[in-house]
Amino acid sequence: MSGKEPTLLPFFLPSEKGNIFSICFQPRTPSPGKHGILFFPPFAEEMNKSRRIVAEQARSFSALGYTVLVVDLFGTGDSEGEHGDADWATWASDIRCAMDWMRQQGIETLYFWGMRLGALLALDCARRFPASVKGILLWQPVIKGAVFLTQFLRLRMAADLVADGEKITTKELKAQLAAGETIEVAGYGLSPGLAGAIEKLELGELLKTYSGDLLWLELLASEDRPAPVAATRLVGEMRDTPCNITFQTTVCESFWTLPELVPAPALIEHCTRDFKKTFQCTS
């Protein structure tokens, strides 16, 4: 079963606000458990920089017999809609449509795989659609939406800095959002609704709403780096809650921020192995 290339099925999935571009990695030999994995993408440019590695991981999963679905949420990638019209609730309904599609394909055991901001969407959807997911895999989850939003808004300031012009501050951008304006950062439109939703997200609060198995994979730049304090602290705080977290680290450069392609064989190998072990899937 391993080493067999999956069939790639690209298609447009009708969703609430428009058609969303999806790619299904269909295994040559589906697992007896009819396992499916639904991917929740990172935000904006992070997704573009992650596509290749996400596809590699999806292939690795499908070699085990799992069906993997990777979607471009409304307003992103090749999906319909403008980024400035995207909002969190629409994205949750995109996921709902994706889940229904997978079920129609015969998937009986569903896992969520969320990366960066997508990790928060995955947990939020597990909360919105309870008892529908067997386990959750997180790659480098965003811990505080407010911090993440500030880092994203900073791209505007940084672009002005590099271009040696008048720089607009994140404070000014937040004021524009508060006044109801959709702003533009690094080529991406950002509406007040979406910014507001992101700002309120906290990984800790979302983890408390989940009482299943969760595999948290934190990627470190090199072997001698420690895991980020915020991550290990949060895992510790969750110890006595119903959320059953397995925390693993692996060495991998932060490809979602880097301009050059990064090879990630260790990540793929570890992730696939840890996924199988944590969720005790029999292929």
């Binding site: 900073r154 800095l161 590099v162 040696d164 501050t169 450069e253 880097l258 301009p259």
Partner: protein, 81 residues
């Protein structure tokens, strides 16, 4: 601290072996093509996470990123201030 700041810049810009060649007076902004807006944000974020301070936009200017030395002095002031 210069060494730590050097590694952070080296990582963010994926300089690899070239990281070691960055000196205190090495010009960064305008000299390193890898230092684009994304890299500026990556460096600021990494410094915040490493040293535990928060950087306000008003504190950053082109001068901050003029050289490895100026960036290190900025970090020193944030840490002690």
């Amino acid at each position: 601290m210069l060494d730590e700041v050097r590694s952070i810049v080296g990582d963010a810009l994926q300089l690899g072996e070239r990281t070691a060649s960055l000196q205190e007076d090495t010009v960064l902004l305008g000299n390193l093509p890898e230092l684009d807006s994304m890299a500026v944000v990556t460096v600021i974020t990494a410094l915040e996470e490493q040293y535990g301070f928060i950087v306000d936009d008003d504190e950053i200017s082109a001068e901050t990123f003029a050289s490895l030395g100026s960036l290190t002095r900025f970090v020193q002031e944030k840490v002690s201030g």
